[in-house]
Symmetry: none
Subunit: 250 residues, 2 copies
Amino acid sequence: MLTTQRRALISARLARDGEIVAKRMADELNLSEDTIRRDLREMAAEGLLKRVHGGALPLAPPLPNFAARQEIAGDVKWRLGRKAAAMIEAGQTIFLDGGTSNAEIARALPREMPITVITHSPTIAAELERHEAEVILIGGRLYKHSMVATGAATIAAIAGVRVDLFFLGVTAIHPAHGVSTGDFEEAAVKRAILGQAAEIYVLATAEKFGAVSPHRVAGIADLTGFIVPEETGAETLAPYEDADIAIVRA
Amino acid sequence: MLTTQRRALISARLARDGEIVAKRMADELNLSEDTIRRDLREMAAEGLLKRVHGGALPLAPPLPNFAARQEIAGDVKWRLGRKAAAMIEAGQTIFLDGGTSNAEIARALPREMPITVITHSPTIAAELERHEAEVILIGGRLYKHSMVATGAATIAAIAGVRVDLFFLGVTAIHPAHGVSTGDFEEAAVKRAILGQAAEIYVLATAEKFGAVSPHRVAGIADLTGFIVPEETGAETLAPYEDADIAIVRA
DNA sequence: ATATTTCGTGCAATATCGTGAAGAGTCAAG
DNA sequence: CTTGACTCTTCACGATATTGCACGAAATAT
């Protein structure tokens, strides 16, 4: 990435998000924080932004949607996505399930990390247009409610891949009933993917705990771990910690 | 390689990728960086690009990628999309190729029409989220420049379907050389789809006529027809009308 | 009050730049 | 056919830019 482009990206981010966090930006671009801080310093000297401790702010007030972005639950999923993306190492192959949470992972993936991403969701694939990752699209009949491919062709295609990490999306997590989802076909596809993955993580926002959906995907013990929001209470998680799975906080 | 050709290539790359990295370009052409740098310097002096440390950037608001092309696509493609959509009848199965033109067809499809849409483009599939159509997604390795699946898995999946109508996207249309595109794998996939389609139409904006791209997809006689903008001149189309194909105006 | 994070600076390693000189090829006049 | 002017390319080299790391200082968090 050329220096000029990096600065342009910083400007764009600043306009869109209303802030730059030096550390995040460094992570995302796989550069040292020094480089980013230097950019911010020099751009501040040129009067392009306002330097603050930890990052930078725009000179002009940010776009209106920023306030909304901060407040809504989107922020929680965004943090979960960041955390999940941070667990991925260069060279790995990962499977991204459908859903908004996993779309956040796709957005949070460092752009220049050499990885392979497999997905059966056209929406997720579309998110990865500008990433360097090799993307493998799994086909099948499109189930529009979740925007993922399902059916026999999908199951068959999944049988042909192996992945290091699977980020599973579900609608419900229960200590006794395991993780479950609302569609029969979709559950079958998720189970097929489970069989091909070395590690399985579930992105879990608080409201999913204790819920049960019609179609079971897996038991708690079949998972490697959960990724939960920082503020998820101990009472909520207590029943799951016995299952000897990792709980990663974001 | 002639200097003129090299410069043309640089311009093309810049338009497509949105950046030139001097070292990469030198490697690719087996030339010294000096030569490339000199080109960049002089092209910058002529006002053709913006020289930056490490390479060059386009002058104009950049944007090579699919999303941007989609935005500037504009009115002509919208009208072609409308016309193409009007040719589809209830109950039919159609295959939508990738590309901005076909994305317009997807947008123009009547929402409640009972049809089956097959596509190997996640972007097109995403467009159809709110449509009633049954959508079959063809998987494979994602070729990001065009945002379509390619490769052996794609070809195999295509072999399992039959369609009434195929809307083929190409970058060039020539009376003698037929229709062609820029990527080898992509061309192979398009040929595979051709074999499964009863009728084949090409959405053709004026600038494609008379052009030739590296990888041939089909001859003019293999097509059922073109869909062209209303204002496309008779001189442009004359060489193609002999081939006894339908030319549908939008 | 103490621990942690972030900052700025200096420095060394590397990458890229521009310039000038040398080598290779082209072409036309002699 | 040869010579010389011209162009294009590569190489050499000193100058400049960029990046990552180390370290003490400042800011922030606990």
